[in-house]
Point group: D3
Chain length 251, copies 6
């Protein structure tokens, strides 16, 4: 039996609170069980040097955990003076995933900065970050549409992510919380779009391996879970959902 008595294909309780912080163009507090991430999207009216004069925009993400987001206090990366490999991996993943559903030409020469700050961690922080970041980004871009800066929302589809895993007893489960994650033999993060395509699959045996069959089982769970996540996102973005639907039809 799983902690919280969850079924193998059952997500934790999820809430997406919008307008969480007042300054950012888009701000969200996403809660997935006891994992809580503040996702703030900021618009900057220029692109980084390597993207200049291409008539295209850019999306970049940063990820961080509060030192005491975890059971043991972690040393602050700002105090250490450098980002860990884990942090770099995660923020590269978030940015790459978001870019898969944004039409960068339509965005124009501006940058969306997405900051994912984990204030409480209980497993699945990177997938919660992606799911929340998508909403924050839509809210920020929606504001540009509301203000007539952009004609349409340059979003081509929904985007959400979830973790799946194989436990030592060979069961495959959805949305691992920390105690499950620390025991899992295999851990996989899956990012998908609204039309059911994959954006990213990262499956890792933790001093273990996994079979083709286990892979397929995990993918099925992930697809099911992500389909649910889209519903939470739709509610959070409100009227902007219609703009995404229009955009999808065009594409």
């Amino acid at each position: 039996m799983r902690p919280n008595n969850r079924l193998e294909n059952e997500l934790r309780d999820i809430t997406i609170e919008t307008g969480f912080i007042k300054h950012p163009e888009g701000s969200v507090l996403i809660t997935v069980g006891d994992t809580k991430v503040i996702c703030n999207a900021s618009i900057e009216e220029r692109v980084p040097p390597f993207m200049r004069n291409q008539g295209k925009g850019w999306i970049t993400a940063e990820y961080q955990m509060l030192p005491r987001a975890t059971e043991q206090r972690n040393i602050r990366e700002a105090a250490k003076g450098k980002l860990s490999g884990r942090t770099m991996e995660i923020q590269r993943l978030i940015g790459r995933a978001l870019r898969a559903v944004v039409d960068l030409e339509k965005l124009g020469e501006r940058t969306i900065w997405v900051d994912c700050d984990v204030i409480q961690a209980d497993g699945g922080t990177r997938t919660a970050s992606i799911t929340g970041a998508f909403v924050a980004m839509v809210l920020a871009l929606g504001k540009l549409v509301d203000n007539k800066v952009l004609e349409t929302l340059p979003i081509t589809d929904y985007l959400a992510a979830i973790s799946v895993g194989v436990m030592p007893d060979s069961s495959t489960i959805l949305d691992l919380e920390y105690v499950e994650d620390s025991q899992a033999a295999v851990d996989m993060n899956v990012v998908m779009t609204g039309n059911g395509e994959f954006v990213e699959i990262q499956g890792t045996g933790e001093e273990a391996t996994f079979s083709h069959k286990e892979l397929l089982s995990m993918l099925n769970l992930a697809e099911e879970g992500i389909t649910n996540l889209f519903e939470y996102q739709k509610q959070a973005i409100g009227d902007y959902a219609q703009l995404i639907d229009q955009m999808e039809e065009v594409e």
Copy 2:
């Protein structure tokens, strides 16, 4: 007339939410108007090298702002690879202030780490951090008393802080919010204890100077404001207030 129609000696709305994050021994969300700071206190069962074998404890503080806590997004210090001078100044101030009301011998050879993470900034983040950090620290130490690790709360008095300033029209005001702070000719942060003594006074003319009379006027406002803050702290710490009262009698 001040923003929010406040009187010169009027604090903003204040809330201190305890148990905000689940992992830390003491966790508080302090809200002072639109300034919001998460204060987490962690207990570590050892002291830094320079304090070893002295039979005493230590208290150290870290301070950080989310990149989009402010109107303009700030570059993350972890990404820059070093702390700014401002951050260092503030975290040194917080730690020093807290140590003024802790009996380090009674604390024993352990370290209290206090993390002050500003998630939304609207002026007075360092004083809100001190006021909230005191509560988080009491909650963490109170847990040690509850668990019989400590016999008594090694806290000698209450501790809170507020900002005061002189405006270009020569008025002196209490608890500056950001739009006031950016216009003020003089900015002063005052840290006081429950018995009305000063722990720290930092008054700075911003390309301006201030007279002896203005100084006294600011100190009066600060004393009045801080006295109010103690009431919020007492409510937040609940039964532990009695332990502080006992401790004060002993001293």
Copy 3:
């Protein structure tokens, strides 16, 4: 038609030259087409602090490219003073993959350092690094067996990796060289063991997405390619192949 007239499921020419550098316990130059990586394995008779006193060993990998391994000269990471996110990701991947086929208890309290230095890059440097690093590691551990330091080779299976991808024309191909990699819509790295299990799957849409069917097609190609790589590894490790076979029977 692919560059070099390769079929979709065809590997590039592969050589694994052993004893390439004289000092390391295991040293290999692996050549995959025009990609050339020096893989050196060093044995250190202690483990990092977080692994001490557990009776287990550790494996850590480092990855670097010569500045002119690529068409454009890259700034040296040592000159920049920090590792890029890409480098960190890759060296974490290599270390994690190798640990999946080593019995860390049997290794004992020692560390294997595997250095993968790309001297010429033409796509697939991370998968070539894993494939070559496995051989270097076997040679280094084999020397410990030869010298009676270890009784048996603490290797539980073969390990190799290859890249697969989806091209803009929707074809799926094996072992992408640089010109293919830079055009691919989807890029996936697969790490497998000799018994046909997955250790790691990392599939990424490059501002694109991929379907379930494309995923399966890529996995098939990868499995076919990796099966061939094992043959090159067996030849390179010579007599040590028997020790691996014995070990696998035991497990």
Copy 4:
């Protein structure tokens, strides 16, 4: 009785030697008892990026101690690769204080760099730095007036600083030397202008607190001491003193 048999309101011996180093536009060796600081002022004909195109100048200060300025050798900050919080605090203080008496518009788009290098430390290095830096800055700006680059000295008033403190026996004293500073219960640095206004007050209880009455007593001592310092400054700057007097009349 104080070390050196000083009265509570008595400064140490003070000398301000001008023209100490030949290259800087203004150079001073200030000696306050056994504390010796080289203060060099350099003029740069441009401003930092954040000040450009505002028709105003800027003043920035740097502070450092030789490793063996102190009884125990300190590790060089250049060797550690970062500035300590203490150094940052001090150099921010010096620059802020100097800016309070410079008319940045009259200075024009140029930067004054003030380097304060402590070659021997015996307490009060930050206040000696401010007092000496003011003289070095006047000398450098005076040279611009002599060379007809500036029409008038853009200095609005004198500026000097001193430390005061409360000792464990509750006495308040002026100009603490190291042995006093290390025992003091309260340490306060005061920066004032020639017209008797405060620029900065930084009072800190060292694991202690201080009363309103002690504060006033310290401020009185500081005011008395700083008034004396202005005489040393006047002598050091020679004829430029008249230019400051003229400027003050205008303001």
Copy 5:
């Protein structure tokens, strides 16, 4: 008797393999006994900021050793986040030496980057780097002549380097390998041009000193050795040798 039975004035076996890596404009693997260095020369069509608008070019060198180029594994400088003093000294030496035989005006506003990566070390890595770097640089510049970018080779003479030393038995020897270098009382690196002039002499007593007579004896050995090195260089650069001869006549 020396290791390898060499005479005191005898070089180790030397090979210079050209075209070693495919991307760089000039690429060489130089082997001096068991010391192996990859020297890659890259042409960049601009100069660093401090050289701009002077109508001249620039040459800069970087030097690095693979972690396991040596008997003991060295920590990677990229992992440490900074270059060692030794590395900086060597790369400054290589760049300075190369600039002595290049006509920077004739080179025009472009930079030659020379990367010397030691893949196997057995003494004399810095002198092998200079000797190999010269060849790589000639090949890169020769390509510019072949492509009519430059009219003539902007090389004024040959350049090579060797180490000499004094052993504990007072013998002076040429081209020290590692076991000799670690015992030598004096170690000297000599860089010379084809016309027999010195470019650089760096002689160091290793907790020892050397006499005028020993100095002259070492210089004679060095001159003899370097004269031999020029023959290997001539063979490696092939037809470009004629262009150097022409250039020398002109000068």
Copy 6:
């Protein structure tokens, strides 16, 4: 004619002021013309990790210039967060040179830290540093003898250094000041011991070369100059000169 009307073999005015800073065990201000260096020697009662348990001591040197020691202000290395290659080269040179005349066994397991801080630069700062550092070191070690910590001065000989050079008119000159140094075709630093042996020779053509004959001419000038420097050192160290003479007889 040279600046200051000096002859080719003429040193600048030299003074060595002892006891310059009060805290260090040995402290010297050496003045060579307008070059001024504070040399402080500190004794630490332990050795760095790589020297432990060998019954021997260690000597390490650090070198720095004040930002405005030069005509143009240099950015502080502590502010940049890293030492330049030039600084590293120089401090390695100073330490190595000093170690050549110290009997590390007799020194015992302690470290001598020598800090050379250039407060005013006019050419020859590294050689002035060595010459001054020797005196500071003797004073510090002499204090250990005075205090009976050491039985004898563990110094085997005098040590001094000077620069020589070849000018564009082919003249060779001694002790270059800055205007000469910036024009010189060849610059050489020579470190010698009291018995006329070389410790270090570093000769560099600055985009130029030098002949065997020019080398010998420079060495003669250097020997003459250094012989004079020993007289200044003897005066500075006073009675300790006898201890060095005794030590030399023993050796």
